[in-house]
């Protein structure tokens, strides 16, 4: 290491009272996660195989059987060592499929997704137990991580570099991918790359706001905001995500993977003009499976804010909207995303 450490005091100073309250909140989420352990029933526990330097994937899901093979292979190829799943009462054979995989541990639950704060409590519990000291990636089965140099360097190259740079959390915003034409034009086949169908995205209609309390950014925009929330952009779903964290058992996710406590982990952006390294989660939600999913989820009412999102979808989906527009970009690779300014290499070269 060379000596020109330029040090700047970062982050907003927090009052003692406020930081104490955040500390209490963090404890509260931990206790809540501890209580929710009763929801979970172990189906296949292979966590004994986890080696001390393995990168882990944590995932909650329901009825995603058709997506799982590609999902698992995508992250295996990236160098993930072990998968931990929570299956929320799937009825399509997902559980059987997962428990048959050699590098997957899976828990089953029939409890309410909503009352586990959309799976956060379950995963907080399992992460506390199994992820301490590991680089840990929390994603949904329709989220695919893209990071700088992901075509030439395995995920471990990134985590090693983050370790060497004393960085504990890595941001990857959600980028909604969609097909050209009707959602059900091209059926998704098991094992195939969903981005071959949903290969389009919005490149430049995102708004970012700072959340003072947790210090995270709040990102909205993209096709969902453009089409489903045309007149009420403030209701559009959050796209900021911090999915990759060097986990410590004291950490908790607060709301999905949008933000964490302690709040220092949310400081994934530079405030002095520079760019920190960041990636993108390609969100292959909009496949032919989506319409059925949207109506089912609406019925279950297990999603955020009274499922306002799914209600908006259901309203629009009746008219079968085309998310594609002539300014949509077709996905090529991470370099394209970095040129468009959706992600950054930071000072990783």
């Amino acid at each position: 290491m060379r000596s020109e450490w330029v040090t700047r005091t970062k982050g907003q100073e927090l009052g003692v009272w406020q930081s104490y309250r955040l500390r209490l909140q963090r404890k509260r989420w931990r206790i809540r996660a501890f209580r929710k352990r009763r929801d979970l029933r172990s189906v296949a526990d292979r966590t004994g195989q986890i080696r001390s330097d393995d990168i882990l994937v944590f995932c909650t899901m329901r009825n995603e059987r058709v997506r799982l093979p590609y999902f698992l292979n995508y992250y295996r190829d990236m160098g993930v060592g072990h998968f931990v799943f929570v299956d929320n009462d799937s009825t399509d054979g997902s559980l059987d499929f997962l428990s048959g995989q050699p590098d997957v541990s899976v828990w089953h639950t029939c409890a309410s997704y909503k009352r586990s704060r959309f799976g956060v409590d379950w995963l907080n519990r399992l992460q506390r137990k199994y992820a301490h000291g590991h680089w840990c990636l929390v994603v949904d089965p329709d989220e695919f991580l893209v990071y700088p140099f992901c075509d030439t360097r395995p995920l471990r190259a990134l985590t090693d570099w983050l370790d060497a740079s004393s960085i504990k959390s890595f941001s990857a915003m959600l980028l909604d991918m969609y097909p050209k034409g009707r959602l059900d034009d091209q059926p998704y086949l098991e094992g195939s790359n969903p981005m071959e169908i949903a290969s389009w995205f919005d490149s430049g209609n995102y708004t970012l706001k700072k959340n003072k309390k947790f210090g995270n950014l709040w990102i909205q925009g993209g096709p969902r905001s453009r089409v489903f929330f045309h007149d009420k952009p403030e209701k559009a779903p959050a796209l900021n995500k911090i999915p990759l964290v060097k986990w410590d058992k004291r950490y908790t996710y607060v709301s999905s993977t949008h933000m964490l406590l302690p709040r220092g982990l949310n400081q994934v952006y530079d405030e002095w003009g520079g760019e920190k390294a960041s990636g993108v989660l390609l969100h292959a939600k909009f496949l032919d499976t989506f319409t059925a999913k949207a109506s089912e989820e609406l019925e279950r009412a297990q999603h955020y804010s009274a499922s306002v999102e799914y209600r908006a979808y259901a309203d629009s989906l009746k008219d079968d909207p085309d998310l594609w527009c002539k300014f949509s970009e077709k996905y090529i690779n991470w370099r394209q995303l970095e040129i468009l300014g959706l992600m950054s290499k930071g000072n990783w070269a």
Partner: protein, 565 residues
């Protein structure tokens, strides 16, 4: 004549072993120093693997912590052992376990044989090196550093502070001029042995033990005492990021490293299989025989530092969210804002688009919808025309629009009826060119067929809004390029100001404008203003309009268009 390798190892021992064998295979002896922090068992098995190699030695182990004396002590012990055990060694090359030779070893030997008395060590006085900005430079030689920077940052900082406040200074040993440089050197036997066998060494060591980061200054300073021929550069290719951590090389750097022509590179990612495979198979055809020149790689790493510290101007994204005044550019490209032009001229937008080849939008911030050029409902980046979306964060809307259309000049109309939330941002933005014909918003009111009471109300409101906007533009913090004319001024001689604006946009038509935009018919406008006055609303932003234009011969010379700032 050969070169001896002193290798400092602390992790990735398997790679270190591989590289050590590569060196010895070419006849270069290697002395390995293994950090004392490496567990004993790991060390033992590593030593076991290499004992069968007669050219490998292991020296006394020291605890090496960044910025502390341990690394120097390790280099000393290993060098002493090297000089003692291998008498044929003429140059000693200090390398780490994560260094990788990029060229056939024989080339390094030949290169050094041709320069038997040259010492390759980067060595500069503190005043001359740029990379201590913001850190401790001269002070690292005059203060004491008993606390670890890594583990006891708080005490480290406080102790420095106290010494500064009390004006405490250490005495630098007589005859020593502090120099600094890369910790990776290659010294001749003469110089190195002179340093290590110096009768004063004990005093020097005592002094440097309390210097901060002595591995960057011990040999660099002492070599100046003895060397007859210092070449102040490192033979090791090593790039540093903005925090002073070495950049790491991966498989995809293979071509870059091939072109570097350097003898040794650090630091290599231990799992960069392709690099190790490519460079450790010693085919002499792999490299051109040229003078080492790391400059080719400089660009790519300099860019990384630039990106991390300054970023891309006008980009707001998940990992770049600059604080106020730290934006390094509020927007990415120049753009133009026109107030009152489209009101005063017929088809001004089409005319401007033709004259400049820029994309000319209508009122982007109009209350009903975003009026994109050509009546489009979407634009680059899939920004839509929803006023709700735009009003959700107007500044972000504008910076996104300018970012999305990089490479094409954007122009848009603005007026008092539009969303005014962007006024501060635009006035602070050096990329903005703002041209104002003040009071021209009255023209559409004048042309409209509405009740006079409503017109009067609107006129009063618009005048208030526009005068507030002009206040902002005349603020001292303004960085935009601003031109303001009153309407009366402007219509006296419209072509000159228009030409100036167009010239600044840098249109493709280099010749002077031939076709002027057509002004709307203003007959009766003076009377309209007078009517407003008669109703008690005094319009002043448009300047002085006679009630009947042309009937009174105006002796007043029109004022020249003026520039704010």
């Amino acid at each position: 004549m050969t070169v001896g390798i002193v290798m400092l190892v602390h992790t990735a021992l398997d790679r270190a072993e591989q590289v050590a064998r590569h060196w010895t295979a070419a006849g270069c002896p290697v002395v390995v120093h293994v950090d004392k922090n490496v567990p004993r068992a790991t060390y033992k098995s590593f030593e076991q693997n290499l004992t069968n190699d007669p050219l490998v030695r292991f020296c006394k182990r020291h605890r090496c912590e960044w910025g502390s004396w341990g690394i120097v002590a390790a280099s000393q012990s290993a060098s002493e052992l090297m000089l003692e055990d291998f008498s044929e060694v003429s140059h000693i090359y200090l390398a780490s376990g994560s260094c990788l030779p990029l060229r056939p070893v024989q080339e390094l030997i030949d290169y050094l044989t041709e320069r038997p008395r040259t010492d390759f060590i980067e060595s500069a006085t503190t005043a001359d090196v740029p990379w201590t900005v913001g850190g401790l430079d001269q002070e690292r030689f005059t203060l004491r550093f008993p606390f670890s920077w890594k583990r006891n940052r708080f005490l480290f900082d406080r102790y420095v502070e106290i010494q500064r406040r009390l004006g405490l200074q250490r005495r630098i040993p007589v005859g020593i001029i502090p120099h600094m440089g890369s910790q990776w050197w290659c010294l001749s036997r003469q110089t190195l042995s002179a340093i290590l066998q110096d009768p004063e060494r004990e005093e020097y060591d005592r002094y440097f033990k309390r210097v901060w980061i002595p591995d960057e200054s011990y040999f660099q300073t002492l070599a100046r005492q003895y060397s007859t021929n210092i070449e102040s550069r490192s033979l090791t290719l090593s790039k540093f990021d903005f925090q002073g951590k070495p950049h790491i090389f991966y498989d995809d750097h293979l071509q870059l490293l091939r072109r570097s022509d350097c003898f040794v590179a650090r630091k290599i990612w231990p799992r960069a299989e392709r690099l190790y495979q490519a460079f450790l198979t010693d085919s002499s055809a792999a490299m051109k025989r040229t003078e080492p020149n790391p400059g080719k790689i400089d660009r790519i790493f300099a860019k990384a530092v630039e990106r991390r510290t300054r970023g891309r101007a006008g980009l707001y994204m998940q990992s770049r969210m600059p604080n106020y005044d730290w934006e390094n550019g509020l927007t990415s490209n120049p753009y133009s804002v026109f107030l009152g032009f489209t009101e005063l001229f017929e088809n001004f937008e089409q005319w401007l688009a033709k004259a400049t080849n820029a994309r000319v939008h209508g009122h982007l911030f109009s209350p009903e919808r975003v009026e994109y050029a050509g009546g489009q409902t979407l634009i680059n980046g899939a920004l839509n025309d929803s006023a709700a979306h735009r009003n959700y964060f107007p500044q972000a809307f504008l910076s996104s629009l300018i970012w999305n259309t990089r490479g094409e000049r954007q122009c848009f109309q603005f007026g008092p009826q539009d969303n005014q939330d962007i006024n501060w941002m635009i006035s602070r933005d050096p990329n903005a060119q703002i041209s104002v014909i003040s009071g021209a918003w009255a023209v559409p009111l004048f042309k409209s067929n509405r009740n006079f009471a409503d017109l009067r109300k609107d006129a009063a409101l618009f005048q208030k809004i526009e005068s507030e906007h002009l206040e902002i533009l005349r603020n001292t913090a303004t960085k935009a390029r601003i031109r303001v004319w009153t309407m009366a001024e402007f219509i006296e001689a419209p072509m000159e100001p228009i030409q100036a604006i167009i010239d600044e946009i840098g249109s493709v038509n280099l010749h002077r404008l031939t076709e002027a935009p057509t002004m709307v018919d203003l007959a009766g406008f003076g009377q309209f203003l007078q009517n407003l006055k008669n109703q008690g609303m005094h319009p002043y932003l448009m300047g002085d309009f006679p009630v009947e234009r042309g009937t009174v011969n105006q002796p007043k010379q029109p004022r020249k268009p003026y520039l704010v700032r």
